[in-house]
Symmetry: C4
């Protein structure tokens, strides 16, 4: 007789497929933040499009960040031979923090040039990335330290700690970006962009 | 010659892929309910964001509920070796009840703090979850009791009734949550959240 | 040396995955048509929600119709061992006719009870289903009659004509539904719903 | 011990699945640009729908273009046995240029018949396709010239240059379409449509 616990085990294939769906939709929904200026209220389209630059900058930073978290998510899950319910639930928490990014992106894009609220908006923006990287690290830690028997190959304790350290290290720059929102929302956006570029083209990766 | 009935048989692979798509999109569309306060009408962004808390609460409850229904959906379908047309149609009914949740979520988030309509909105919200769990149970019952020959392994009548009982048991708390909407919409939202937490971290699962 | 033609051949796996994505997103976007009545302009929420019934009816009909076209699409593609560029292009035309259904659904839902425009809206609605079933039949005809060598198993000319006849037969009721829009938009919506129910629970299928 | 570089290697399966998701969602989001005329402000629905023809034309051109880029993307990735981080990052840049197309489509659809801004809107529209084809060529060049060892079969240097030349050749017509926006936005839209038709039904392909 099948035990209740066993029935909760999930092939990583469908876990990836659902995660891919949520992450791909979240990335693509970002475009809904880029709105077309109303013709009746737009004497100069070029000027109107140009003044929307925070929207484009936030789109670019968020899309690349979501794309990079997808790459890292793939690496994390591909180490697993099988998932269990706790992994699924932690993965859902991670996905819910990714799915909220179109809102956070819209918030900073709307308020970056406003006379008020721009620091809070930037703080929420970087704070959302911070929450996402915390959720990612929590899931990775759970997999590597507590569910090592579900891994596809035996990685060894040191190698697992090493992978985890790299994943946890992403928390620090997002903490700085969030804190800096109190000083300059532009700096916050710039740092979030720099983090995305840094992870996209790692120094010496020989890619 | 292939019989008409046989041509309706579907590999569960593509059934899962379509279901994953609908469920992932429904979960991610929830974020569209979280709107950015208009700068011109928002003297204090912090206050405006804070007063939106029903939107965040409803987002969190709905996202986790959709995520858990996805986990349960996976378990249900993974028992099948093959699907037939009736299973596909019942699955479509289930998916249509999941796809409607972004609307129900927006409804309770909009009316929770209003002076009128909040009880009806909460009733529709919990009622949508109730319909979803009824559709889920109907499909599960059809698979386990009437289409046992399509299962991947022979589970035995008792084991099948046991699985079904667990799935049907989800109907009771949603009935209570729906009924309580007539008394307190806050209680309804809290119960729906508690159901999600209960299913996410089952007592003694040792996850 | 690989010929240009050969490089255009596509595994049906990814064709299905892309089609599943478009169809799943189109079905789930239907929910965006169901809007929440504004609290400030809604003295009685129950009445406001009730008067929206054309939106719910159109949602139900469209969701089930898209779901059934997905089932039929699966059956059609699963007969193929391989696809070529013409199949891909005809499939794109079919997908573009499915992706437009959220607009057609919104149109009939908005105008069904209006004093003007409701006949045209119903005509566009049923006409969209008609175009979709024409695109489906064109693709199926191309596969069964002109690309029989790409089929996974040899079906025989008669069996292929038989499958095609069933798929072409869907064109007739949609033509009737479109024509009836000039008389009664309610009849059009009812017929489209009846078509969905008829295909969902075929008489004597023993499902 | 696994090297850091190795852990970045990704099966092309999940690369395709994520790309399929983004491309399918971007194509399906195009429909959100087709809005239903407000009943209160629409004395004649037929006229209102008819005057929206730039929206339908832009929808058709963009949907087919996205569909064709998906076909080409499939051909490009299917040559790979494995992907590495640089391929993933270049693919993300390509996906971000595809995901932005619903905005560019909305822009030209809104401004095509306006007395001002229509040339800029058309320029942005064709320019977005130009950026997309540049990103596609950059990724294809990287794969064929610098990562030939990751290909599934050895194609030979001449064959690889030949494939690349075909992919780069798409840049020229989009450059012309972008430049022509300064003269006639209608011509720009027509050329973009002609490019889609040309790639859909290639002369002498015998499809």
């Amino acid at each position: 007789m099948e035990s209740p616990a066993k029935s909760d085990q999930v092939s990583t294939g469908r876990l990836e497929s659902f995660s891919d769906g949520v992450i791909a939709v979240a990335a693509t929904l970002l475009v809904l933040n880029i709105t077309v200026p109303l013709p009746d209220k737009t004497p100069h389209l070029a000027h109107a499009l140009g003044s929307q630059w925070p929207i484009y900058a936030a789109y670019a930073v968020s899309f690349m960040t979501i794309g990079i978290i997808w790459i890292n998510h793939h690496a994390m899950i591909s180490r697993l031979a099988q998932a269990d319910r706790t992994i699924l639930i932690l993965n859902l928490l991670l996905l819910s923090s990714i799915a909220v990014l179109p809102f956070a992106t819209s918030l900073i894009a709307t308020y970056l040039k406003e006379g008020h609220g721009q620091k809070l908006a930037a703080g929420v923006y970087a704070g959302s990335f911070l929450v996402m990287s915390l959720a990612f690290s929590a899931l990775n830690q759970h997999i590597l330290l507590r569910k090592a028997h579900l891994l596809g190959e035996d990685l060894g304790a040191e190698r697992r700690r090493q992978i985890l350290a790299r994943s946890v290290s992403g928390i620090i720059p997002y903490t700085i970006a969030t804190a800096l929102a109190a000083v300059s929302p532009y700096a916050t956006l710039a740092i979030c962009g720099a983090i995305a570029v840094f992870y996209a083209f790692p120094i010496g990766s020989g890619g």
